[in-house]
Symmetry: C2
Subunit: 157 residues, 2 copies
């Protein structure tokens, strides 16, 4: 099982300094803006991104403290769920995924809305959100059905 | 800039042995099925995944041959686009993202539809697709507008 090495291409700036104040999902705080800042040498890769209203951010959960358990209670439910059936940050590979709204570009920086990551989170990739490929409005939401925003259970990340 | 190490949690089996026959996006071949096989020790993490109709697969583009250029012609367009404004496989970090339909689970294996990756692709993570968080049907599709499936341009990956 080969090990795969990744290097951050930039950093995500958000208003959230602690896990407690970071929303469980960006759609719960669509008005909160953040900035995606690419490191020097990567900005050119943003060419034509202005045409998209939404983008995927793939990032590193760099401040997880809990051990990655395969089945555990999660942020939106006290019932245990499999780690691959939830979006909990402590995972076998610490990769986060979020869709944010793209408000604008200033050189190698992107202003985004609905951000749900900790300030200074390492960015691994940006991909354009293309509704033909990525939007499935009728998908089943599994155990998330009926689970609405709530305060994060203490000590759960 | 810290280096992040990831280890595959499993492998994706698909009908596609070559890049030429692999579809550019899964929605172009929704009828093609594949299997996601978790390595021993990870299967328990699939608990409750059966409730979802769609899942995200995050995987490693392990057979890219082209250098990761920041601006380049892509699979659906001969005009050059920024690497962060396209889904081209040769990227600064070789991470792929796809949404597949979940047909069923057999122990630590998932049968999926609309698969668009090479056979034996290393799997890094699975996340449930939750339409409330992930579906934005009215998102702008930027330069993808009007770009439909076509044969992959020779030598472009």
């Amino acid at each position: 099982m080969t090990c795969i090495e990744l290097r951050p291409i930039g950093v995500i700036r958000s208003p959230y300094k602690t896990k407690e104040e970071t929303p469980i999902q960006g759609v719960f705080r669509p008005e909160m803006t953040g900035w995606v800042e690419l490191y020097p040498g990567y900005g050119e890769g943003l060419k034509d991104i202005e045409g998209f209203s939404h983008i995927f951010l793939i990032y590193n959960f760099d401040r997880v403290s809990a051990r990655a358990e395969l089945v555990r209670p999660v942020l939106l439910d006290d019932q245990p769920h499999g780690i691959f059936a939830c979006r909990f940050p402590s995972r076998p590979n610490s990769i986060g995924l979020t869709v944010v709204e793209l408000f604008g570009r200033e050189g190698s920086k992107l202003k985004v809305g609905g951000i749900d990551v900790l300030d200074n989170t390492p960015l691994l990739d940006i991909k354009p959100y293309v509704p033909r490929f990525d939007s499935f409005p009728k998908a089943n939401e599994g155990w998330f059905k009926g689970k609405n925003e709530r305060p994060k259970p203490p000590g759960r990340e």
